[in-house]
């Protein structure tokens, strides 16, 4: 009795709640000086503090507090004048102290919002997602599950622990419940996470890479009968590792809940794990007997009381809000909605803006990045920012085309050369011999040779049959290996044959 999405919406209203964990990109860990660089040999980035050794004590990373305040400010939150850390007590082998230092009753920032916009068949729709809190905590280590068939925890014989990640600063951003999204719930969830990514990236506080786990989303979903005011039982879906998965997970949970409810069954309050292949969730630990974390104020750390001057200094350093910036750039560059959306989707806004700032015409800059360069990036299955071509290169190429030193066709080869690592545009032009032949005497010589080789064609042109010139121009372009400006060749040829 599988339900369609429309059938779900006919009876139920979804209620969302999203918890996003962000790894900060500080140089050192939250409570100790160990490096946070990704990918070191196991257990080489640990110390008594992050291994939870007897006697070791935490001290808070100042940059982590600043980043958390910046995040709060960017999300329109209030920075609380008094906040503190607590201990969240539970046993898990990859958590060295068997308590996580986190913020509980007094988080660093509260009460903010994020405005998002989604593109629907009914046009653009706006939603405001309200933020309940932003708080700081520490990451756990990583487990490798050994033996057994699946490499998963179930059926494993034993596990191997690496604590390099333990103690990396995390900021958790928790929304209030998001009601009234109706059928757009999956899109709203996705757009919210995407907007968070953009905001956090603009702040420079995190790498925000979902696939690497530096941004992780837990999606809480519940359903209630339309018209009902009390909330239904929610499930919490973890392991949602991409924007696409956020959308699929919410939609999938809505359908799963509706099927249970329609069958007269109860939704169990539990953690579910999203499975990328199937798009379905699998039951994790049941939270029916909710774990008692026995929170209490962390006695090893003193309260954080950001003074107003500090907060205002941080506020002054905030970059322009991404939504405002997008509107401004769209106006400045006169970009149609659809192309603007494409640029945002391709995550090309920053790179195009930089290119424009370096003097390139906005339309041309956009054209290169979203055209040829995106095409190559797609082929290589990487993002445009990962290619070895940068805004400087593109601005230079745009300038060369404008001055006529390169044709569009030649410029494409230069782009390809830069991406292949052949050097800066000028070097690629030099080594590949890509330069517009603008020496007119050389062009005239080539034109005369073409006329001599095709006298009948030349005669037709002389007699006013202009389209015949194409063959002659083609011959010239061939001889100059495409490095002549075809328009100029045409002009010179027609003039020479008395057709100007």
């Amino acid at each position: 009795m599988s339900l369609t999405y429309d059938e779900v919406l006919a009876r139920y209203e979804p209620v969302l709640g999203l918890e996003v964990h962000v790894e900060l990109n500080t140089k050192s860990k939250m409570f100790c000086g160990c490096t946070t660089v990704f990918g070191g040999e196991p257990n080489t980035q640990t110390c008594p503090v992050c291994l939870g050794m007897p006697g070791a004590l935490p001290v808070v990373n100042e940059k982590a507090i600043e980043s958390s305040i910046l995040i709060g400010l960017a999300l329109h939150c209030t920075v609380t004048p008094y906040s503190r850390f607590s201990r969240k007590n539970y046993f898990y082998p990859d958590m060295p102290k068997n308590y996580q230092i986190s913020q509980y009753d007094q988080p660093i920032c509260v009460n903010g919002y994020v405005d998002i916009e989604i593109d629907t068949n009914d046009g653009l729709k706006q939603f405001r997602v309200e933020i309940e809190r932003v708080h700081m905590e520490e990451d756990t280590g990583k487990s490798l599950h050994m033996g057994g068939a699946t490499g998963r925890i179930h059926g494993a014989d034993y596990s191997l622990l690496d604590f390099n990640r333990a103690g990396i600063p995390l900021v958790e951003i928790v929304t209030k419940i998001v009601p009234s999204t109706g059928k757009y719930a999956p899109e709203v969830a996705k757009a919210y996470v995407a907007e968070l990514q953009t905001i956090l990236r603009s702040l420079g506080v995190s790498d925000v890479r979902m696939e690497q786990g530096s941004l992780r989303c837990d999606a809480n979903v519940s359903l209630r009968l339309i018209g009902e005011t009390t909330l239904g039982t929610r499930s919490e879906t973890k392991n949602v590792n991409s924007l696409r998965s956020v959308k699929r997970a919410v939609r999938g949970e809505m359908i799963r809940h509706a099927e249970l409810l329609n069958a007269g069954k109860k939704v169990v309050q539990e953690t579910r794990h999203f499975q990328e292949e199937s798009g379905l969730t699998r039951s994790g630990r049941s939270k029916e007997q909710a774990e008692d974390y026995r929170y209490f104020p962390e006695p090893d750390l003193v309260p954080v009381e950001p003074d107003a001057a500090w907060v205002e200094k941080l506020r002054a350093s905030l970059p322009e809000e991404p939504t405002k910036r997008r509107k401004r750039l769209q106006a400045e560059w006169s970009v149609p909605d659809k192309e603007m959306a494409a640029m945002i989707n391709a995550d090309a806004l920053d790179i195009v803006e930089t290119t424009v700032k370096l003097g390139a015409d906005p339309a041309r800059a956009r054209g290169w990045w979203l055209g040829e360069i995106s095409r190559i990036a797609n082929e290589k299955d990487v993002s445009i920012s990962e290619l070895s071509i940068n805004p400087n290169d593109v601005a230079e190429i745009v300038a060369l085309v404008e001055t006529g030193e390169l044709t569009d066709k030649l410029a494409r080869q230069v782009v390809e050369g830069v991406i292949n690592g052949e050097g800066k545009p000028a070097m690629v032009m030099e080594s590949r011999g890509l330069k517009v032949v603008s020496d007119e005497s050389a062009l005239m010589a080539a034109i005369e040779r073409a006329i001599a080789a095709q006298p009948e064609t030349a005669e037709k042109v002389r007699n006013g049959h202009i389209p015949a010139a194409g063959a002659l121009i083609g011959a010239v372009m061939k001889e100059t290996k495409g490095q002549a400006d075809a328009a100029r060749v045409r002009e010179l040829l027609l003039g020479h044959l008395g057709q100007k």
């Binding site: 257990n43 808070v60 990373n61 100042e62 982590a64 503190r84 003193v302």
Partner: protein, 79 residues
């Protein structure tokens, strides 16, 4: 613990709990709780990397290790 140990312990616990419950006699709502004896705040460290332990030092006390990692018994529960 054996059953008799547990019985003994639970009797002791009852006695201790009723003794410590005396705190409720004076803990009225208007009193602020004290979690830290010395009232200081905003103690932080600069975001500077300092050398870590070597892998050998990190694992030196491990009951079991393998491939540079701590080896632990199978973990029940979620991933």
């Amino acid at each position: 613990m054996t059953d008799s140990e547990l019985d003994h312990l639970s009797t002791e616990m009852d006695v201790i709990l009723s003794a410590v419950a005396r705190v409720q006699e004076v803990a009225t709502p208007e009193i602020n709780p004290t979690s830290h004896p010395v009232p200081i705040s905003n103690v932080t460290r600069p975001d500077v990397v300092v050398p870590s332990l070597s892998q050998e030092q990190a694992l030196s006390g491990a009951p079991a290790k393998e491939d540079g990692r701590f080896r632990v018994p199978q973990i029940l529960g979620e991933e």
